[in-house]
């Protein structure tokens, strides 16, 4: 596709942001509907361009060349921006712009009546633009720029209802934790630049992605350098993708409007970390340490987050922990070398997780609460929401033949095969992932049963924490909300089966996505061999999880009230999120940092540095006062002093000869 069209993908939503904030909001007011239409139009066009990008990349076998444009220069250092259009970019573009489009349409209804309506769509446009910019970037610095802007979009949208203290705090927390992680990313960039002379000698630019690929092939990166660069990049990815132990911001981010959670904290931004690791996969592959770190962190995150999802009562938090857990899956896939499986899972997950979040928003629209203890019985009142939510849950739980089954199965198969061939870490993460799969099925159907089955328990009218402005009236959400649910349900069912089928499907060749990704130079994507054994095993595990939820929440064979009491310490540990918020916020930040280090240095500044300075001043002033005593104005005294002085000088000369 022509370069202008590629840039438009990024600039259309940006123009929408500028238009809304500079023109529409000042002129048409804060609740202008026009803002929504402009946003939808811009992102709709972007989606169309993204499809074009995908088609043209497919027909070009992943090859594309775009010119670069100088952005910063300082002496011989010149830094240029440009577009990289390869299979990874093309797939990501379609996912991001597609999900974003659905979310914007949904938001028209969901955000209706909010006093910040125009501001909401301005921020959404800005975020979408930043995310697309990140995907299109052809070099590391350009990626870092958009990476940070994505963080800005997230900050603005989590804190959208800034007059709520919890939202303001969550926004700040998200930004600071990801910034902390980006410190690692920045060091990775600096370290790569530090070792860039070998690249320059070959006429390569150490920041440009395709040049890095070439450099890896030419052996310009030593394993040691690759290791630290990869770990730095991974640190950044851990922040954005909420990997353990930097995951604590994501559940809090649910303070933002629900469509935001669907777009940013489920389908796109949090996947940016996975995308980043995938983008620099050849560098990671050079270092076993880096690969193993990614695998282990991914594996731990997958099971750790899933365990917290088991006990949450807030439906969005269940989904948030589920997201963290699924991102862990993608990371462990990358860490075990399953590049194709990771991107495949990112692809399918985006659809069904956005669907689930939007479903939870629809439920909230009716009940006014997110607390599942005050829901129940919604399936009759909200049939479309119910059906689509079930589809999303089945897909996430990995039930054949829905999308999630195929991608999750590929990850499991790959890890298992490596494990069987003697790679211990792969075997360990395989087992972690399998246990997490059980938990996933359980917590998703726990959510389904608590929300949609049984009797209605009052919604916002009973929930003391709800922010509801309207009385509860159980009815299906408006079409602008259900339509995106229905549209997203389609890929949640078929995306896995069509995009990366295990056999040829007429026009679509088998393992299409894997083969497509394989066009990326330096990245070798294995096509996973379908294993009936693993598929059966994971299905049984998922069914067991669903069955247990059924027994507890429908049949009540095991009472969901007694179970936490029987396992009180475990339940408390999970419900309090392993006390990690307390550890970070109370112990580290409040006590060690704020009341410790900051207090001490502030004291030093006020009581020592400044006091010394003032003491010098005092000394000067008082010396003056003391010496002034000598100046009495009496001529005799001065004459006396002069005489004595002359005598002393005379004596000195006399003695020294």
């Amino acid at each position: 596709m022509p370069e202008v069209a590629a840039w438009l993908i990024l600039f259309l939503p940006l123009a929408s942001f500028a238009l809304i904030s500079l023109v529409i909001r000042p002129i048409r007011g804060a609740e202008s509907q026009t803002a929504a239409y402009v946003t939808i139009m811009a992102i709709g066009l972007t989606f169309a361009l993204s499809i074009w990008a995908l088609v043209s990349t497919v027909s070009a076998h992943g090859e594309s060349h775009y010119p670069v444009h100088t952005w910063i220069s300082a002496g011989e250092f010149e830094f240029a921006v440009g577009i990289l259009m390869d299979p990874l970019t093309a797939i990501m573009l379609v996912v991001v712009s597609g999900v974003s489009l659905m979310v914007q349409i949904y938001s028209v209804g969901y955000m209706h009546g909010d006093s910040g309506y125009a501001r909401y769509f301005a921020y959404m446009s800005l975020f979408t633009s930043a995310m697309l910019g990140l995907i299109l970037a052809n070099n590391l610095i350009q990626m870092f720029v958009f990476w940070e802007l994505v963080g800005l979009g997230s900050y603005l949208l989590i804190g959208f209802w800034f007059d709520r203290p919890a939202a303001a705090a969550a926004a700040k927390k998200a930004f600071i934790i990801t910034r902390f992680a980006d410190f690692g990313f920045l060091l990775g960039i600096l370290f790569l630049f530090f070792n860039g002379d070998a690249f320059a000698a070959q006429g390569l630019n150490v920041f440009v992605v395709t040049d890095i690929y070439k450099g890896v092939e030419l052996g310009l990166l030593t394993i040691g350098v690759a290791q630290w660069v990869a770990l730095g990049i991974f640190a950044g990815a851990m922040g954005k993708s909420a990997q353990f132990p930097l995951h604590t911001w994501l559940p809090d981010a649910m303070e933002g409007p629900t469509p935001v959670s669907a777009l940013i904290h489920a389908a796109t931004m949090v996947a940016a970390g996975v995308f980043l690791v995938a983008r620099f996969f050849p560098v990671f592959e050079l270092s076993l340490v880096a690969m193993n770190t990614v695998a282990i962190i991914g594996g731990i995150t997958a099971i750790f987050a899933a365990s917290m999802g088991l006990v949450m009562n807030d439906i969005k938090r269940v989904l948030a922990y589920s997201t963290v857990s699924q991102l862990g899956y993608m990371m462990l896939a990358l860490g075990t070398g399953a590049y194709g499986a990771a991107i495949f899972h990112l692809f399918t997950h985006a659809f069904f997780k956005a669907l689930l979040f939007l479903g939870s928003g629809s439920v909230n629209h009716a009940t006014g609460t997110f607390d599942m203890r005050y829901m129940g019985g919604l399936r009759t009142a909200m049939p479309w929401t119910y059906i689509t939510f079930i589809i999303g849950s089945l897909s996430l739980a990995g039930i054949v033949p829905l999308a999630g089954f195929w991608s999750k199965d590929e990850i499991l198969t790959h890890a298992f095969n490596r494990g069987v061939n003697g790679d211990t870490i792969s075997m360990v993460v395989f087992l972690l992932a399998l246990i997490a799969a059980f938990m996933t099925a359980f917590y998703m159907f726990r959510a389904v049963f608590m929300t949609f089955h049984g009797n209605f328990k009052g919604g916002a009218e009973r929930d003391p924490d709800a922010h509801a402005e309207h009385p509860v009236h159980l009815e299906e959400s408006p079409k602008s909300m259900t339509l995106p649910l229905i549209i997203l349900a389609v890929p949640a069912i078929v995306a896995g089966f069509l995009a990366n089928s295990i056999f040829d499907l007429g026009v679509i060749p088998g393992h299409w996505m894997s083969h497509f990704l394989d066009y990326i130079p330096s990245v070798h994507v294995e096509t996973a061999v379908f294993s009936v054994g693993i598929a059966a095993l994971s299905s049984v595990v998922a069914l067991l999880g669903m069955g247990m939820a059924y027994l507890m929440y429908i049949r009540r064979v095991i009472s969901p009230e007694d179970m936490p009491n029987a396992l009180r310490p475990v339940h408390t540990l999970l419900y309090r999120k392993y006390f990690m918020d307390e550890l970070y916020e109370t112990v580290v930040v409040r006590h060690v940092f704020y009341s410790g280090i900051c207090y001490a240095l502030d004291w030093v500044d006020k009581s020592i540095v400044d006091k010394i300075v003032n003491f010098c001043g005092w000394l000067g002033a008082n010396t003056g006062t003391a010496i002034r005593q000598v100046q009495t104005g009496q001529m005799q005294a001065y004459g006396m002093g002069i005489s004595v002085g002359i005598l002393i000088i005379f004596a000195i000369f006399l003695f020294l000869g």
Partner: protein, 511 residues
């Protein structure tokens, strides 16, 4: 005799305006309007000077020279030239001074006390700062350096915040610190003159290389450096800054943080590094260490501040530390000195001027409306003042180095430039960016977000002329963030000769 006249106009127009206000204009509203007109014209002249500076040709341009300004006394030729000129290093700083001078006048619209006198001092201050950035004769440079003190002293002591004793204390502290620094500087200047026979800063670098200095070069370097270090300010000479910035009136804080601090950084470039490349390379570790201390110490002390202006003042200490990190790259690697870190340091001066200028401007507005700067008393203001909240967010995000704003470009260049020689110090300093995110966002949260307090129920957003200075600075921050080359190319051409002379020294050392 060369005489273009443009720079002389840029420098002396504000002083002439001050004289007119003193002698002609009797009504305060006239004085205010006239001051604004002068500031606008001066800003336009500064833009013209910046625009006509030809980066391809490089070197000193727009020269105004009167070679026998103060005729020689006797035979030893103690002749002082009147010599103004700009190069790539000073041209953007002249632009910055013009911009912030206008912002300062517009930010003073509400001043009610002794209005004419106020604008006289404010305009005189502008002349002093412009003079420092344009004069290329060392004695003239020194005169302007000192000239700037008097107006600033009165601005703080008379129009500063209550109580009186506190603002007078702060004004005096500012004065004593700077004068002490410049006393050392004067000795340094005189030693250079008596060793080389010239005050001409364009020939001094070569003259020093050939001359037999009366004192060891390291001593002369240190004498001069102290003056600049107080101004920048470097820890532990920074303690005047929080007091002066906090107690100055809004316009005073804008100029103090926006341009007066840059005089220190400019001096380090123009004098310390250009004239003593050898010593500067030996002292590079000191630059790096000082930079790290400033960045981290400043950022940590910020966290505990409860006075909004004091908080921003300490953030300046932290951010000016990045200038030192960039300067530390003078040492070079393997005999090559890159312009990257130096350009970054110069960019940091420019961007910090616009960003912190905006921060002080906005905080001053918050204070005027809320009548308190005590952070725990503030809260939820965004609901009633959305424009101010968004502007503060833009300034804050720029301050924490978000891409798309000018802060990011400067910091990136500094980190890339310095990491090769000073990996660990640069890495530690880069952590300052994380701390910046923490204190900036926490501050914005406490001041702007959350439910609005009852006593602010009737507070109003910015209005009328207040939009103008905010808009000017926001545009400057974003424009440089998105199109950095229009500033960075100029700076780059200015630091290029400095880097070349450093490189010669570095290569001589290799051999």
């Amino acid at each position: 005799m060369e005489f273009t006249g443009l720079l002389s106009a840029v420098v002396f127009l504000p002083l002439a305006g001050a004289v007119v206000i003193a002698l002609v204009l009797r009504k305060y509203s006239h004085a205010r309007l006239f001051a604004a007109a002068v500031a606008i014209v001066d800003f336009i002249l500064a833009i013209v000077a910046f625009a006509v500076y030809d980066t391809n040709a490089g070197g000193i341009q727009l020269v105004d020279r009167l070679s026998n300004w103060i005729p020689g006394l006797g035979d030893d030729g103690f002749a002082v030239q009147y010599l103004l000129g700009i190069d790539g290093l000073s041209a953007p700083l002249v632009l910055l001074t013009g911009l912030l001078g206008l912002v300062a006048v517009l930010a003073s619209w509400h001043i009610k006390l002794r209005v004419r006198e106020y604008f006289i001092w404010l305009l005189a201050l502008q002349t002093g700062v412009m003079g420092v950035f344009t004069s290329l004769d060392f004695l003239l440079f020194f005169l302007f350096w000192e000239l700037e003190l008097i107006p600033m002293f009165f601005l703080i002591a008379i129009w500063g915040s209550d109580p009186k004793s506190k603002r007078e204390y702060s004004a005096m502290k500012f004065l004593i610190f700077t004068i002490l620094g410049s006393a050392f500087m004067l000795v340094g200047i005189l030693v250079l003159f008596f060793s080389t026979g010239t005050f001409d800063m364009t020939v001094l670098p070569d003259a020093i290389r050939g001359a037999n200095l009366l004192l060891p070069a390291g001593v002369v370097f240190s004498l001069l450096f102290v003056g600049f270090a107080v101004k920048l300010p470097l820890w532990p000479l920074h303690t005047w800054l929080p007091d002066a910035h906090t107690d100055a009136p809004t316009a005073g804080s804008v100029i103090l943080a926006g341009v007066l601090l840059k005089m220190g950084g400019y001096g380090m470039f123009r004098v310390s590094v250009s004239m003593f490349p050898d010593v500067a390379q030996d002292a590079a570790w000191l630059f790096a260490a000082a930079g790290v201390i400033n960045v981290i110490y400043g950022a940590i002390v910020v966290m505990r501040q409860t006075d909004l202006k004091r908080l921003i003042a300490f953030s300046s200490v932290s951010h000016m530390g990045f200038v030192m990190i960039g300067l530390a790259s003078v040492v070079g690697v393997n005999g090559t000195v890159s312009t990257l870190g130096l350009t970054g340091a110069a960019m940091q001066m420019f961007t910090h001027g616009t960003i912190t200028g905006l921060l002080f401007l906005l905080v001053g507005m918050v204070y005027d409306k809320a009548h308190t700067r005590y952070i725990p008393d503030l809260g939820g203001l965004a609901k009633r003042m959305p424009f101010l909240a968004i502007a503060l967010l833009v300034a804050g995000l720029a301050s924490l180095g978000l891409p798309g704003t000018s802060g990011f470009v400067a910091e990136l260049l500094i980190f890339l430039g310095a990491f090769k020689m000073w990996a660990i110090p640069t890495a530690i300093a880069a952590f300052g960016v994380v701390l910046a995110a923490a204190y900036i966002l926490w501050t914005i949260q406490r001041v702007m977000f959350g439910p609005i307090k009852d006593r602010f129920a009737d507070i109003t957003d910015v209005s009328g002329i207040q939009y103008v200075p905010i808009a000017l600075l926001v545009i400057a921050i974003i424009a440089v963030g998105v199109f950095p080359t229009f500033i960075s190319d100029v700076f780059s051409s200015g630091v290029e000769p400095i880097a070349n002379s450093l490189e010669q020294v570095a290569q001589a050392r290799l051999r």
